[in-house]
């Protein structure tokens, strides 16, 4: 039996080996893109059912970002929403027979975590400037600089390992039970995987929001109008 954690290339594009998670991801990208194109083709001020769901989804993401970061959600909406949608769809792709979710492989989770890591640094620098962002590593004291640097790395790894462990374990359990018990026995576990996949997608998106929010800091409060000095 092959190691289920190892990736065998399906084919090569020149020197680049193309593995199953990449192919499945391409399929998911195609499906999501098609869905995006079709669902946003006839947006109107009087929404239908699909548009209502989409607006509810976007409004929920905005509310989550606004609540977590205390900032206007527009710059962060695409990243948080894309991460949530992709992780959710990737996790649920295990329902399709013969398809292994890309998030059950370490490379996909690492790619997602890498994007979040890069976005954290990018938004932090864009908001605070390079000096301001680097200064956050010395908070609350310069003594904390090594710990903060380690934290940046470890929390990224925790993102990877958390998602990988949960999804991979579900796939393994379903595969083992399917091979031992029969066709319909793993159905409850697959339903549990649906819940696990949704929760993991939510956790990944929320953690990404928290990390980015910590990098950009709180929004500056609007200054109160100064009281004019009055001479009695």
């Amino acid at each position: 039996m092959d190691n289920p954690l190892s990736l065998a290339p399906l084919f090569h594009l020149g020197p680049v080996p193309i593995t199953a998670p990449v192919v499945v991801t391409w399929g998911l990208i195609a499906v999501l893109s098609l869905f995006a194109l079709v669902s946003t083709r006839k947006l109107s001020l009087r929404p239908g059912k699909t548009q209502t769901v989409l607006e509810l989804f976007v409004s929920t993401i905005d509310a989550q970002v606004r609540e977590t970061m205390n900032r206007e959600p527009a710059p962060f909406r695409p990243l948080v929403g894309t991460i949530f949608l992709f992780v959710l769809v990737a996790n649920w792709s295990s329902l399709i027979p013969g398809v292994e979710p890309p998030t059950a492989h370490l490379e996909t989770d690492a790619a997602l975590a890498l994007v979040v890591f890069a976005a954290t640094i990018g938004f932090g620098i864009a908001t605070r400037g390079i000096k301001g962002y680097l200064a956050t590593f010395a908070e609350p004291s310069w003594v904390m600089i090594p710990l903060n640097i380690v934290e940046q790395i470890t929390r990224t790894f925790s993102l990877i390992v958390r998602l990988f462990g949960n999804i991979m374990s579900g796939v393994f359990v379903v595969g083992i039970i399917l091979s031992l018990a029969g066709l319909f026995v793993p159905i409850p576990l697959m339903a549990l995987d649906l819940l696990t996949g949704a929760v993991q997608a939510y956790i990944f998106a929320v953690l990404a929001t928290v990390f980015i929010g910590a990098a950009v800091g709180d929004a500056p409060r609007p200054e109160r109008p100064k009281k004019e000095d009055t001479v009695p």
Binding site: V22, E55, G81, T82, A111
Partner: protein, 244 residues
């Protein structure tokens, strides 16, 4: 377990591409339509507030106009009342004047009627007195109708101015009327007495006239001397009428 760096790189690219696609074709349009709906809702709310403000302004204007109309109505009513009051006073004054005039006219007419009635009564009383006197005189001797009046006639003639007396009886006999035809003695007494007061002999022509009731009346060209009951009654009646 091994880690495929190519897969990591491809998946990273895939995530970035998916991020761009969804940002471009999903999140941006949906966020835009949400924003448009919010703008439309705000615009509708602003329009509703503007319409409400306009309606309030129109209501205030209508209220002010109603108050103005009410005030004008009150002023017009007050003017009409004042005018009606003036007209009422004028009508009352006119009525009062007309009433006074009518009253005065009525009073004058009443006075005239009363005066006419008094005159009529006086006339009737005179006639009654004449009748009564005539009846009373019928009980006296016939001589009393003339004899008692000769002296009075002579005194009245004597009281006339000299120029009048001198012309009396010059042109002919003095015309004399008597209550009845005098006897020759009475005629002689009358001529003698007149001749005495006139200072010369005069002739008389006596004409009987029962209207005189009792007495004599001298009818000269320049003077008439009445000494009889008829004349007395006439004078008394005139005096009574003058007193009333």
């Amino acid at each position: 377990m091994n880690f495929d760096w190519w897969t990591l790189a491809l998946q990273t690219i895939n995530v970035v591409v998916l991020l761009w696609i969804l940002a471009r074709f999903l999140f941006r349009p949906v966020a835009r339509i949400i924003s448009e709906r919010q703008d439309a809702a705000h615009a509708a709310l602003d329009a509703a507030q503007a319409a409400q403000a306009e309606a309030r302004a129109a209501r205030d204007a209508a209220r002010a106009e109603a108050e103005t109309i009410q005030q004008q109505h009150a002023e017009q009513l007050a003017q009409a009342r004042a005018e009606a009051e003036r007209e009422k006073k004028r009508l009352l004054a006119d009525t009062q004047t007309a009433l006074e005039k009518t009253r005065a006219e009525t009073r004058a007419e009443l006075d005239q009627m009363r005066q006419a009635e008094a005159q009529d009564m006086a006339r009737q009383a005179g006639a009654l007195a004449i009748d009564m006197a005539g009846r009373l005189l019928a009980r006296l001797p016939e001589s009393a109708r003339i004899g008692g009046f000769i002296e009075g006639l002579a005194e009245a003639v004597a009281a006339l101015p000299e120029t009048v007396r001198s012309s009396m009886g010059e042109a002919g006999p003095l015309s004399l009327r008597a209550a009845r035809a005098p006897t020759e003695e009475e005629t002689a007494r009358i001529r003698a007495r007149l001749s005495e007061v006139l200072g010369r002999e005069v002739e008389i022509a006596v004409t009987p006239d029962t209207d005189l009731i009792a007495g004599l009346e001298l009818d000269a060209p320049t003077a008439i001397v009445r000494n009889h009951f008829r004349a007395d009654f006439e004078r008394i009646r005139e005096e009574l009428a003058a007193d009333e």
